[in-house]
């Protein structure tokens, strides 16, 4: 009997055009202008950042655009020890979810500029933007978050997100 065929190579690559949507487009344009723009829910009043056009709790359109602060509070964190092709942070580093002042939902980013042992829930941080000539319609316009020196936030202020 002939040798069994144990594998074949069938390369597959698909290319897509991404449609971020009306709300997320405003958010992405905001980043290119050093602004963080969310969508306010007319019902529960939460400001959704990044916005996707709808309040995920109430299912109503978040048409009103609201700018939130680029300062916020670390809601939770993890120390990452495995490399990723798409991130050039030096290992190990800390990823966080950060509740920006004025926002109703925390979002994902990375904190730098402090010892990993100092990263903690409640820590106050601010966005570190890339140089002005490198700003673009991308979340990578925010290089990372760094401690802003303020005292830790009271647990009560972020406990519903923790």
């Amino acid at each position: 009997m002939a040798d069994p065929v144990k594998s074949i190579v069938t390369p597959i690559q698909l290319t897509y055009d991404f449609t971020p949507g009306v709300a997320a487009s405003k958010f992405l344009h905001g980043l290119a202008n050093k602004k963080i723009l969310g969508g306010a829910c007319p019902q529960c009043k939460a400001v959704i950042v990044p916005p996707r056009g709808s309040c995920p709790m109430c299912a109503v359109a978040t048409e009103e655009v609201v700018q939130v602060s680029d300062h916020g509070t670390i809601v939770t964190f993890s120390i990452v020890r495995v490399p990723s092709d798409n991130l050039d942070f030096e290992l190990p580093y800390a990823c966080i979810t950060v509740l920006l002042d004025g926002a109703g939902l925390p979002f994902f980013h990375v904190v730098q500029g402090c010892d990993l042992d100092d990263v903690r829930m409640g820590m106050r941080v601010k966005a570190e933007w890339v140089e002005d000539d490198q700003l673009e319609t991308s979340i990578s316009s925010i290089k990372c978050f760094v401690p802003n020196g303020e005292p830790d936030a009271d647990y009560e202020t972020y406990k519903e997100h923790a």
Partner: protein, 350 residues
């Protein structure tokens, strides 16, 4: 069997959406369907969706669509990687188990995000077929050629099907391909995969649709004329094209029998036939006679939103019955290459 009715249906106008994302397309459709059902969102006990992450190119994209539903407080929810018509089937089964009495079902698709022929080629045998990257138009053209040879049909017969569907779509505000067109104009088009021309192949558009189901007496309280699901079945043929007789559809035939198509007079049928020649193949397989009106909405040739088109056929059928224009009809959905999978839903007015 529990009596289950379609109490509302909403759909977006098929379009090429280069600004709105899936959530933004879906949100107003879901809101319309809920408003028309006269139910509160919190009264709907089960939610089921049909979509394909391959169309969006994002893993778990269907989960992100829940932003349009408001899954808070947490809801009972499920998803099928299929046209929304199969999500409707799952919801109907769920209601049959008596676990719930009501359900919200939606289907959505943005067909233009990727290279669609390549995306759809991935739905075929990954070892011996997909590496050849066959596009659905070519595969369907093989079927069209066989069907024409077997039945002595010509390209003029195909053009007549296109002409009738476009005419039917004229009054459909959600359709794209509509209005009068002459047979000569259609036949003057170049082939894209002979014997098929562009007009024989349903165009691809973006959109969404949504249905609300309710069981029993409550359905009568919610709407003037509930449209009852009298039979529901779906079947699948083998994936390998060479195994099947492409000129007929065994899966559609069995699904139609199991759903009880022939038990009583059928006034009309909404058939998801994404290629002109597939409409007569389906009609014959389902045993639909000359007196059955085919695709009064203009069908898939009028508007073709992948992952929603089948649910739209059932929704269009329900609306026709609810309005009193007909008493008994069927909605059909298909999926896969050359009518591989078929679903039949028989509907009847109160």
């Amino acid at each position: 069997m529990r009596d289950v009715a379609i109490v509302s249906f909403a759909q977006s106008s098929a379009a090429f959406e280069d600004e709105r994302n899936e959530v933004e397309i879906l949100l107003p459709v879901v809101q319309d369907a809920i408003a028309d059902s006269h139910l509160k969102r919190s009264e709907i006990e089960f939610t089921c969706s049909g979509s394909s992450d391959f169309l969006q190119g994002q893993p778990f994209a269907f989960v992100m669509a829940l932003d349009a539903i408001g899954a808070w407080p947490p809801i009972k929810e499920s998803h099928v990687e299929q046209d929304g018509a199969w999500a409707l089937y799952e919801a109907w089964v769920k209601i049959q188990t008596e676990d719930v009495d009501s359900a919200l079902v939606y289907g959505f698709g943005k067909s233009a995000s990727g290279d669609l022929p390549e995306v759809l080629a991935l739905s075929m045998d990954p070892y011996c077929v997909t590496p050849l990257w066959p596009d659905m138009d070519s595969v369907s053209a093989l079927q069209a050629r066989q069907w024409m040879e077997k039945n002595g049909k010509t390209e003029r017969d195909l053009a007549e099907i296109v002409q009738r569907n476009r005419r039917n779509a004229t009054d459909n505000p959600h359709a794209i391909q509509k209005g009068e067109v002459s047979i000569e104009e259609l036949l003057a088009e170049p082939h894209i995969a002979s014997p098929l021309r562009a007009s024989d192949c349903a165009g691809k558009a973006d959109g969404a649709s949504c249905v609300v189901l309710m069981a029993g007496e409550r359905a009568r309280e919610l709407c003037e004329r509930p449209v009852w699901i009298r039979g529901f079945d779906h079947r699948v043929d083998p994936a390998a094209l060479g195994v099947r007789d492409l000129t007929t559809s065994s899966s559609a035939k069995i699904a139609g029998e199991k759903a009880g198509v022939g038990k009583d007079k059928i006034d009309f049928a909404e058939l998801y036939a994404p290629y002109s020649h597939q409409e007569p193949i389906l009609a014959e397989s389902l045993g639909l006679g000359e007196d059955v009106l085919l695709n009064p909405s203009g069908g898939a040739l009028g508007a073709h939103v992948l992952m929603s088109c089948g649910l739209q056929r059932i929704g269009e059928a329900a609306q026709r019955i609810a309005s009193g224009k007909a008493d008994r009809g069927l909605g059909h959905a298909t999926h896969g290459a050359a009518l591989q999978q078929n679903l039949v839903c028989v509907l009847e007015g109160e």
